[in-house]
Amino acid sequence: MTPIGLIALIFGIPSLLLLAYVFIKGSTGLRRYILTRIVLTLPMVFILGTMVFLIMHILPGDPVSSALGPKGTPEMIQQIRSELGLNDPLIVQYGRFLGEMVTLKFGNSLVGGHRPIIDEMSERFPATLELIIPASILALLIGIYGGTWAASKRKKTTDYAMRIYAVVIYSLPIFWLGLILQLFFGVTLKWFPISGRIDPIIGTTLKTYTNIYTIDALISGNWPALWSVLQHLVLPTVTLGLIQSGLFVRMTRVNVIETLHTDYIAAARARGVREHVLIYGHALKNAMIPVITLIGLQVAILLAGAVLTETVFSWPGMGSYLVERISARDYTAVQSVITVFALLVALISLAVDVIYSLVDPRVRY
């Protein structure tokens, strides 16, 4: 069972079960909403895929000759081109591309080893997951609690400090933040390692099932490995999470302030409900709903940030894979990676929309 297969199972089965549950138990309104969302996602995936295809095939430049470099004789170029089907009419290539997108059979890497791309992604994708999931959770926590805190101290120093924090985070180049964290915590203080996913020696002891090292270490009870992985996870996660938190802080703050001015909060206050219950209970919950949809918007930023973070920390995920393949001029791989990214964006947006519908009862009933 490939790692990607395992991951698909781990995430896929609960999601499908949840979807089924929601479908059966939910009202017709909810069902219609979910179906609409699913149906609307398809054109988006289609368009994104087409965009990728157009970029890779229409723009000037021949990938094969660049890949082969000066060594490539015209005969070699022609041979590889016809092998890859690059001489076929554009429509045919497009059709083939769509087929690949659906079945995820991306063919072989152009450069260096000719491994099936899907195998390489199989190793890289879980690494990216292992990074972006904790980072997003961290970002949400910082964002929601920080934003609420700032809203509760409106107009006082804390509020302005939080607003400045959000703006600075937004303006901070993520790769620089990573470097500074590496410098300070990795080099100067030597608290955390600055590259890789796991200590290479310990790494040899780890049996990988899903390629998400934390899960694998837990499954096999390999505590030294788990410890090493967690150590390596800290700096990249904090980097990516901090940058993400900026937008969440802003949005939460704005939403909580607006919520605190609503009539129903005033009415609750008139019933004697304590202020901190109003802020951290009601206002936070009400404000959280629009922030959740923000996660969907943030996917783009998340993935872009992942590319840079993985590069800084030599984290072997999809992001660094993309950059490596571009430097190697392996255009088939590049095209495949970007397609996967597009699929990911669409899927996550869909998931967020569905979750939103579950949380906001106004949509449910």
Binding site: S171, P173, R250, A304, L322
Partner: protein, 425 residues
């Protein structure tokens, strides 16, 4: 790296064009009155506007501010910020004809010159290195000169210098910190330049791995950052705003198709798209500008289209009453001026984003030819030396932060001023 808030402005529809213009005349006066009214946000805008202006000036005339040219090998490698540069200097008798180390070279076969050094100091090592370098160069020259000086080690500086005065050694190699004392106490000796020929400069922010001045590269880097930032933003604007206006105005299938396309583009990670485009097109400034410009067209499109739609409702009612206003007139005279404040806000945030994306691209090694002084490239180089030269990554990144922050703050402040949301509550 997308935009922040995107609520369209709630400006009511103004009457005829001259009223719109009048409003803009009073703008400067209102700006000054605004200081008391808007409080902190006014300061945001003003300070950031001043900062932006400073950056623009630096970008246009970096040579006024930078002590060195960005490519010049201005000094020794890896000089820490503010550190005094220890150069080794040649000291010779006042009447000697030697003016640089190379002058000590003698023809093959004759006795080599002897040079005095103080033992235990890096000066002897420097002498060896410098002599070797020069020797490599001159040994192939027709004059047949070689430079392999004999090194005489002395315990104290005075002994070394006295041997030079006595003629035992042709020259002495001393540290730059001793030069002042030597000048005072040994009037018959003079210095003959540094071993490497470099001038001991002041490197405020240090030097990088090949000896370039970090500060100068920083200042020169402003140019490319702002060029990319402004060019791509203007391009996005020029393409996105009209598309948004037309789509919002015309509506129908054209609008729906275009919006679907723009939404998909918007949802896609910008950096990755830019990576794809630059990867295919190849590294050059123009390609980066094009790639980044594509990223932000949807943002302009959406905002402008949204506003056009909301204004269109009002205008058609009026147009129904005053038949005769042609559609193009409505578009340019009524809708467009209302759209300008939002576009200004998006523009400043856009420039900030574009600079970030551009730096990201060059950090990854894509996009810019490596000969241009650029913050992203410097950061990538600095990463290799993170253990030894912290200044190589700290300052370029700080520069990016400051520039991007200025534009973002300006956008922030403008947002609060044009779209008052939560001012008095």
């Amino acid at each position: 790296m997308s935009n922040i808030d995107e609520k369209p402005a709630n400006t009511p529809l103004e009457g005829t064009t001259w009223e719109v213009e009048l409003k803009q005349v009073g703008f400067v006066r209102r700006l000054l009155m605004a200081r008391r009214w808007y409080g902190a946000d006014w300061w945001f805008v003003t300070i950031s506007a001043v900062a932006v202006l400073i950056f623009i000036i630096i970008a246009i005339f970096p040579q006024w501010f930078a002590p060195y040219s960005p490519d010049a090998l201005a000094g020794p490698r890896f000089v820490a910020p503010g550190a005094t540069v220890e150069l080794s200097f040649l000291v010779v008798p006042a009447d000697s004809s030697v003016n640089k180390l190379q002058d000590l070279a003698v023809p093959e076969g004759t006795d080599q010159a002897s040079v005095a050094v103080v033992q235990g100091l890096p000066t002897s090592g420097d002498l060896n290195d410098a002599a070797q370098k020069i020797d490599e160069i001159i040994k192939n020259q027709p004059a047949g000169l070689r430079l392999r000086p004999i090194i005489d080690r002395y315990v104290t500086l005075d002994e070394a210098l006295q041997s030079v005065m006595a003629g035992t050694d042709k020259a002495a190699v001393v540290q730059s910190t001793d030069l002042a004392a030597i000048k005072a106490s040994y009037p018959t000796l003079r210095e003959a330049g540094s071993l490497s020929g470099q001038v001991a400069g002041n490197y405020i922010l240090g030097t990088n791995d090949i000896g370039q001045d970090v500060l100068s590269r920083l200042l020169w880097g402003t140019r490319i950052a702002l060029i990319i930032g402004f060019s791509s933003s203007i391009l996005s604007l020029v393409l996105g705003v009209p598309l948004g206006l037309i789509a919002g105005f015309v509506g129908g299938t054209f609008d729906r198709l275009l919006s679907l396309l723009m939404d998909s583009l918007y949802a896609f990670p910008g950096l990755i798209l830019a990576i794809a485009i630059t990867a295919v097109l190849g590294p050059s400034i123009l390609n980066i500008i094009l790639a980044i410009a594509v990223l932000y067209i949807p943002t302009y499109y959406r905002i402008v289209r949204g506003q056009t739609l909301s204004v269109k409702e009002e205008v058609y009612v009026e147009a129904a009453k005053s038949i005769g206003a042609r559609r193009l007139e409505i578009l340019t005279r009524y809708i467009f001026p209302n759209v300008i404040p939002s576009v200004a806000i998006i523009f400043s945030v856009n420039v900030a984003d574009a600079i970030l994306t551009g730096a990201g691209l060059s950090f990854l090694g894509l996009g810019l030819p490596p000969t241009i002084a650029d913050w992203g490239i410097d950061l990538a180089r600095g990463q290799r030396f993170i253990q030894t030269a912290w200044w190589m990554i700290t300052f370029p990144g700080l520069a990016i932060l400051l520039v991007v922050l200025s534009f973002t703050l300006m956008g922030e402040g403008l947002t609060e001023i044009f779209n008052p949301k939560l001012r008095d509550r």
